[in-house]
Symmetry: C2
Subunit: 409 residues, 2 copies
């Protein structure tokens, strides 16, 4: 009789976004005349840029002709894309990253979720709290996290690094030494960042302790301030301790197109083994490459026209971020993020939980956001709004929020 | 100090197809005037059919307009594709499979490789021998296979079910009861199949023992004979013991397009848990859906024009299969497969190993094939040729082989 992986059963049943979806459905049913504005899920709304659409059409045509048809892609991605990533995203920033250290994939979520496989079963993970749920959940499934405590919202074998207004959202070095350190910068959900100096502390720490930093830079293109690094490899010493995840979802609107990449420097060695070779083996065995047409689309992200169009797209969303940030500030709220990231992290009014505020926001303003507690215990008392809506809806949502009885102090 | 997953290090270093690639490169360098014909790797050569190209263009245009742009896809796939799969691939064959039991993915390789995660660490797997290497390798990585014996080519904790000419390539029920049974029908690499009655034996066995059958039907569209089932769910009782993997790679040439699906009936329960819910959780946590434009392309596979065009494509490859099969038979070879599958499985001349024959074939005919021993110990003494080349090359390759001194008895 086969046995199932019992670790899966440890995962709390109600997933954040499905609970939200249910509450919103119930609200809409009860209030059919209200226009609900969604500033909840981190999905983009702007269509794919013209330069990318053109590249996609060209690649589709290639697939229809025997002479230019492409079958199985190289396991680690086409050279044309890997070279472009190295020369556009890394070399100009002074990072020593070469094309063959880049693994093209179908997105950062898959890579963030799968990377834990190449590490030992007994590795101890450290996560910022609050955090993107995939880091913890994928380790729960692998049996690394111990037991879940409903009261504290914590797993017994996970090191939590609280990031709250009190410590300016800067994780402190943990007392217990972790093996794997997940960092998401700019952060989802708080929208906050680390400066070069702040990140250097972590790189040094990882090199000293032999830990590996799993660095999620999916929101890199939203960075506006000079002292915030776009890649961890801008920090000296990162090549021997860090794996970086990047995505085309947020800089180019590829949430439904699916393309990302992971960087593992060949100098990142643990137990005498290059982690690069382990990940290459995983790619070769359990993945068959991102589609040719999608990899070609990725090249247009780096073309002159593509860059110009995407710069506008990012600016569009960051204008939304400013509308949210400034509007709520004006209303007297305590707000964070929104400067180097498309997320605004809001302190909920005193005496309310994150879910209380979710309900009030929906009831009083017909606006959907995400309760901070859904991202971890230290997210309690906070709330996430995203800048990925349309400008018009964003403006309207903030106007409505400003009139909310529960927001006015 | 982080530790790596040491199971990865147990995998034998030289991967079959990379060894082949090196030998071929060396041959080409030494013989620059020879035209090498590749009948080795199972990649297709015909371009994507016109109906699918048209659908792709349409979907690309949708992504470029705000009103029809698609962001994150539903975790388990778009309803429009899942409904079509259920109504086209399953209902007409009498299978009780509904759309919500179908999980759309980026291909059967990913799914075959990842499915083992939802089972317990101590599950014992059984594989046909020879077999597609992903089944075993993904379990090696998970630490289920014990140690590798270089002499026998076997893992200590894997149940091997030899499939050779002696037992007509029909796996026998193993002495030791396995938890997970991998079956690939039509088979890669042997090109042989199981009839309904033969498959019924396995379904009954799995239901009796509580094992789960992992049924890889990637080559289903090549089935020509009536008594060979296209899906395991044609067999009574399969809904309570089998997971089926399907691919668009071989029926529609999607090796570089990437689309597949996995079926887990809701009635498949082990330890009181629906396997469907475990796989849904994995999809939701570690995967972000197949691209919208690719899922739309999948719908064209089922359109009237698409079906007609793909029928021709399959017929094209099967004409090649017949050329190979008949030609080698005529030359006095012992050949199998090629009737319900695009693979021809050839007994190598007496006294030679599979790799000996690989070298002779390359030397004497400039033809590349795949040594049977690369698929498992019982593949020794056999050789795989694929029908996925062009017709002209296939004819030429066989003409050359007929003249090979080492083939003529």
């Amino acid at each position: 009789m086969v046995k199932i992986n019992e670790n899966y059963l440890k995962l709390p049943g109600s997933y954040l976004f499905s609970t939200i979806a249910k509450k919103v459905s119930a609200y809409i049913e009860a209030n059919p005349d209200k226009k609900v504005i969604r500033l909840g899920i981190g999905d983009v709304t702007q269509p794919i840029a013209p330069a990318i659409i053109e590249e996609l059409h060209g690649a589709v045509d290639e697939m229809g002709e025997a002479g230019t048809f492409h079958g199985y892609a190289p396991d680690l991605g086409y050279g044309f894309l890997r070279e472009l990533i190295a020369s556009e995203d890394y070399i100009p920033r002074g990072c020593e990253i070469t094309a063959d250290e880049i693994f093209v994939s179908d997105g950062a979520k898959s890579d963030c979720g799968n990377i834990q496989e190449i590490f030992d079963q007994n590795c101890k993970i450290a996560v910022c709290d609050p955090v993107y749920p995939v880091y913890v959940d994928s380790n729960v499934m692998a049996g690394r996290t111990g037991e879940y405590d409903e009261t504290t919202g914590k797993w017994s074998n996970v090191i939590y690094m609280p990031c709250t207004a009190e410590n300016h959202f800067i994780p402190e070095l943990p007392e217990e030494t972790p093996d794997l350190i997940y960092l998401c910068v700019p952060n989802n959900p708080t929208g906050t960042t680390l400066t070069r100096d702040q990140l250097k502390v972590w790189v040094d720490y990882a090199n000293e302790t032999g830990a590996v930093i799993l660095y999620d830079a999916a929101y890199e293109s939203y960075i506006a301030q000079d002292d915030v690094p776009h890649s961890i490899y801008e920090i000296e010493g990162a090549n021997t301790c860090a794996i970086e995840f990047r995505s085309f979802s947020k800089n180019a609107g590829f949430t439904g197109v699916r393309l990302g990449f992971t960087v593992i420097p060949k100098s990142l060695v643990r137990g005498g083994v290059m982690l690069h070779s382990l990940w290459a083996r995983r790619h070769g065995t359990k993945f068959n490459g991102a589609p040719y047409i999608i990899q070609k689309a990725g090249t247009a992200v780096y073309s002159k026209e593509g860059k110009a169009q995407l710069k506008e797209q990012v600016a569009y969303y960051m204008r939304n971020a400013k509308v949210i940030y400034d509007g709520l500030k004006e209303a007297g709220c305590e707000v964070y993020g929104g400067v180097n990231a498309p997320y605004i992290w809001l302190r909920v009014p005193e005496g309310m939980t994150s879910w209380d505020f979710f309900d009030r926001l929906l009831e009083e303003a017909s606006v959907v956001g995400t309760p901070g507690s859904g991202f971890g215990p230290s997210g309690e008392g906070y709330f996430r709004l995203t800048a990925f809506g349309t400008y018009e809806n964003t403006v309207e949502a903030i106007e409505r929020m400003k009139k909310m009885p529960s927001l006015i102090k």
